[in-house]
Amino acid sequence: MARVVAGLATSHVPAIGAAMDLGKTKESYWKPLFDGYEPARKWLADLNPDVIIMVYNDHGSAFSLEVIPTFAIGVAEKFLPADEGWGPRPVPAVHGHPGLAWHLAESLILNEFDMTIVNEMTVDHGLTVPLSIACGEQKNWPCPVIPLSVNVVQYPPPTGKRCFDLGRAIRKSVKTYDKDLKVVVFGTGGMSHQLHGERAGLINSEFDKNFLADLTRNPQRLIELPHIEYVREAGAEGIEMVMWLVMRGALDENAVEIYQHYHVPASNTATGLMILENQPLTV
């Protein structure tokens, strides 16, 4: 039986990927951020998951405005890094897990989530930067990754409640997959940032810290946050944080916080990272 054992939420700022790709991680601007990633990398390497379910958003790379899926799940064998205008990131191809991905697609649809099934797509910084953050520089990513893309570019994104409920449904679906797999769910994006308009550069550390504080023990407050609150308080692009709620929903109610890291800035963005683990079953 497969099971979700842990969750990791992290920002997915393109500049973090670029800093790694260009060898700048020891520079004074970047060092405090990357130092904070070390414990997470060690934790993930020790945990050694069999599959990562990566909840992220595409930024006009695999999907254009032609077709805008609210929730899309990638069922392919392989996903190549996207060219976002700067050329593709020099990171390994992502190998999928068609078996579990199709199982998820099937059971999520039968459980009334209106998934878009994707057989072929590229993956942009929304997916590759969290892998770089959590795995470091690698010749090959340590395990298969299932891309689960959430629309947060075109208003309206799904509500926080819908995202949390998707996480719940993922948890249930993983449990009914008949292979013995340790699954980690990533939620990515955020934290507070605004990339456009005269208000670009907005950061709200108080909002972010309250978000980090409540994610584990008081997710109900976050589930109920309306979109306008994210946009006003955390910046227009801060709405990405709804994806953290998918991760939270995929974990048990009594999941415990293992690690937390917060840093301002990375380029235009406040960055956060949080690790949750499910409690072992008491026998």
């Binding site: 393109p14 930024h59 254009s64 075109q154 208000r199 670009a200 550069g201 946009v231 380029s267 406040a270």
Partner: protein, 126 residues
């Protein structure tokens, strides 16, 4: 949508912007292919002729008026493909949109970013 319009300096990419900016953003998206970036660089105006763009959309690109692109229906994740074609970063574009030199913007970010106080509502900024 009025509650979103009350937020200063913010252009929510909603249905109206998507409707008005569709062709413009599709043009931007085309720049994810190296051969299209090359064609754009060698003759920007005629490259853009392939899409039915409005005059303000064309002008904003030719003048690299980053805020103008947004006002004309551009979405930042699409207009950033133009920045990428120019070899520019998100931070360069963000500084330009907020109307300050990049160095000043960078210092603001190093000092903790633009505060939310005073930036929540147009009632505060007016």
């Amino acid at each position: 949508m009025s509650e979103f319009e009350d937020i200063p300096g913010t252009y929510l990419f909603d249905k109206d912007r998507c409707h008005d900016g569709y062709q413009f953003n599709m043009f931007c998206m085309s720049l994810v292919k190296p051969k299209n970036r090359q064609a754009f660089r060698s003759d920007e105006a005629s490259y853009m002729d392939k899409w039915p763009l409005t005059e303000s959309q064309r002008r904003s690109v030719l003048e690299r008026d980053w805020l103008g692109m947004i006002k004309a229906g551009g979405n930042i994740y699409y207009t950033s493909k133009i920045a990428a074609t120019d070899g520019r970063s998100f931070q360069f574009v963000a500084a330009a949109m907020s109307g300050v030199p990049e160095e000043e913007y960078r210092s603001m970010m190093m000092a903790g970013g633009r505060p939310v106080e005073g930036n929540r509502s147009k009632r505060e900024t007016d």
